[in-house]
Point group: C2
Chain length 420, copies 2
């Protein structure tokens, strides 16, 4: 397709989404719940087709030379599909955020004011290889009364289409407009650029991906964005850290799962900690099979390798960590301000004032004290499913569930009340 075709195609998708969103905005909670349950059933019933579609994607991915990590993210099997089904049912069971009265009060003028939740409108989700995002994101958008335009990675094209068909079947079964969940039907990258500029049809873009997508969004987005970008998470061992807690948490923060955005990518060690305990944190990581890239004194620890300049501020998503000595909590704060991505950082200390300083002077979506960065997850926050961890500060921040996909309006009632 040439550029002209893409623009026309996207305009069609946009107009259809906008129309659906007007209807979805006041769809009864029962209809949305029914659609999600029917979609879950459709996914269950379509297991063979979904796995077949995924096999085509996997073959395509292997031919394309995708890394094992990428292929693993792309892969679906019966258990992962069961996870998708469970996810849909969990979102169906959640409370419907739309119409909820967030606050209400009376004014001396006689007016009664209610602030109630409303959908945002149309949400564009741009993601990469994981096909399950198709179902997860669509479910959260539907629950929150928003229409969604999905744009998955070209690697997961067939898997995502198979899941989309199930979601649309759910909409049909519940009598909701099919335009509520659409997917960009082309692998052409120009469609992403188009989405980023469709201010008339898309109210917010949720981009989930790595550096390439970040760059594109920063250069081109005209639509507001809930950035779910890199998770360059730091963990700082203060001079007054408890050694056992520090060892336990650092190891967990890096190694529990390396492919998630809450995985620690950089270990900052207070010189005071190092003077007292030596390289024990790094030795633990090395023993666990982590590659430790560092500099200066820490290079004297056998097994470490020298960090390149760009290893600080880098999201490895792998059994690799950058490590550096810093001067106390202020050194850690300065390093994180320079290299962090405002996702999640953790401090290990028994000194409450030091922890307070870390909490106050850093401005990441999530700050932790004596806890693993791996907890950066909607489920671990008690929010249920999430569409991502927002690293921006506008509207949504941290784990983004159905509630954060809503706006609000004021409903004001009087008795022929006029302003004096």
């Amino acid at each position: 397709m040439d550029g002209m075709d893409i623009a026309t195609l996207m305009e069609g998708l946009g107009a259809r989404a906008r129309e659906a969103s007007a209807e979805l905005a006041f769809a009864p909670p029962q209809a949305k719940e029914a659609a999600l349950l029917a979609a879950a059933e459709a996914v269950e019933a379509s297991l063979p087709q979904i796995l077949e579609a995924n096999a085509r994607d996997m073959a395509f991915g292997r031919d394309k030379g995708l890394s094992d990590a990428m292929l693993d993210r792309l892969k679906l099997d019966a258990s992962r599909v069961a996870g998708i089904v469970a996810g849909l049912r969990a979102v169906a069971a959640q409370e419907d955020p739309v119409g909820a009265v967030v606050a209400e009060w009376d004014m001396p003028s006689g007016l009664h004011i209610r602030r109630v939740r409303t959908p945002l409108g149309v949400i564009g989700v741009i993601y990469e290889s994981r096909p399950n995002v198709t179902a997860d994101a669509a479910a959260l958008c539907l629950k929150s009364g928003n229409a969604v335009i999905l744009r998955g990675g070209s690697e997961s094209y067939h898997s995502s289409q198979a899941l989309l068909a199930c979601m649309v079947a759910g909409l049909k079964a519940a009598g909701l407009p099919e335009g509520a969940i659409q997917m960009v039907p082309t692998r052409d990258r120009a469609a992403v650029s188009e989405m980023l500029r469709m201010v008339k049809y898309i109210d917010v873009i949720v981009p989930r991906g790595g550096k390439g997508l970040v760059g594109l969004v920063q250069a081109e987005a005209r639509v507001p964005v809930f950035a779910h970008l890199e998770g360059i998470c730091h963990i700082y061992a203060d001079g007054e850290a408890d050694l056992d807690k520090a060892r336990r948490v650092v190891l967990n923060a890096k190694t529990r799962r390396t492919g998630i955005c809450g995985s620690a990518e950089c270990l900052l060690i207070d010189r005071a900690f190092y003077a007292r305990h030596g390289g024990v944190l790094i030795e633990d990581l090395l023993k666990a099979g982590v590659e430790v890239r560092t500099e200066g004194e820490l290079l004297s620890i056998p097994g470490t390798i020298e960090a390149k300049a760009d290893d600080f501020g880098r999201e490895f998503l792998d059994m690799i960590i950058a490590a550096r000595l810093v001067d106390g909590v202020d050194g850690a704060i300065a390093h994180i301000r320079r290299y962090g991505s405002q996702h999640t950082e953790s401090i290990l200390t028994e000194n409450q004032a030091t922890a307070d300083r870390f909490f106050q002077r850093l401005d990441s979506a999530i700050l932790m004290h004596n806890a693993s960065t791996q907890f950066a997850d909607g489920g671990e926050f008690g929010m249920g499913a999430e569409i991502g961890i927002a690293t921006g500060k506008m509207h949504a921040r941290g784990p983004v569930g159905a509630e954060q996909l809503t706006s609000f309006k004021y409903l004001v009632t009087g008795e022929g009340t006029i302003r004096g």
Copy 2:
């Protein structure tokens, strides 16, 4: 100044604001309060200089041929300056939103999670003729821990500079960074375009103005925007409206003050109302001196004049109103969806189901039932000062006070807690 100079100038302002915002983010509430009180004192003490600066602006405005309405907005006198002083003191007395714990809870993992308010960072405010916005906007940004870059209209340049000096004096007195409140020191329009693209230095733009500014923002903004744009407010008299309430509210909605964004610009009359009560609402408006622009049957009411096509969806800000017959609440909803600006609309009816339908199917920031649109005002909502009425849906909506100028972060504490 040429384009290059403007870019360099704005980069300097931006960097200074960003630096100040890092410090402001954890400034003690007492310091911010002290700065606002000192600024109020400075405004009081500088009354002669402020009036002198304003006289220069007024002379400039008259030479430029500004309308009387524009000149009135530009004008400062002792009483209006006293209003600015009172406004600063009121914001000083407000609760500090930063650091407030919005929610907190425990998780089975042992984590304790707090959601606390944080400043957004750097706010750009672009406004037109009213010089008081300089003090009001700066005060709200400071209270919410944000640095601000102000860009007032060229007409109010000297008045705004005089008020800025007082605000900066307040910062100095309280030991806060002077970069926290800055004003673009040029009348060059290119500075506005620059602001709209300064994603590195400005976190959100608050544009307050008419069609010209709207167009510029829509075409150029790369920075997120809290649009405070047109208030094309509708008032709908349903067939089941109470006649007395309807007469009282319609007259107030249009005529109490015509220059504010909550003033009604379009009256929609249900055919059933018209069949029962005739043109009484329009006759009331005509008697009060309002020019009524209408069409069809309503033109038979003596004194009405024929509406042009663009009189619907137009913000008159004057003693002018557009009027049209519609078929019931659904006709009103369809008209408002097409012509409204999602600011404020009001329905007059005694039928609760009809009012509910209006509330549910429209998506304006403020919807009213049997109340005047003139109540669309932060003070009337009990929020104190406001930086404007946001007509967008992202982050802020309706009256934007200090609280809506904040974001939040999660503070999570454990006891060496790791994820299983």
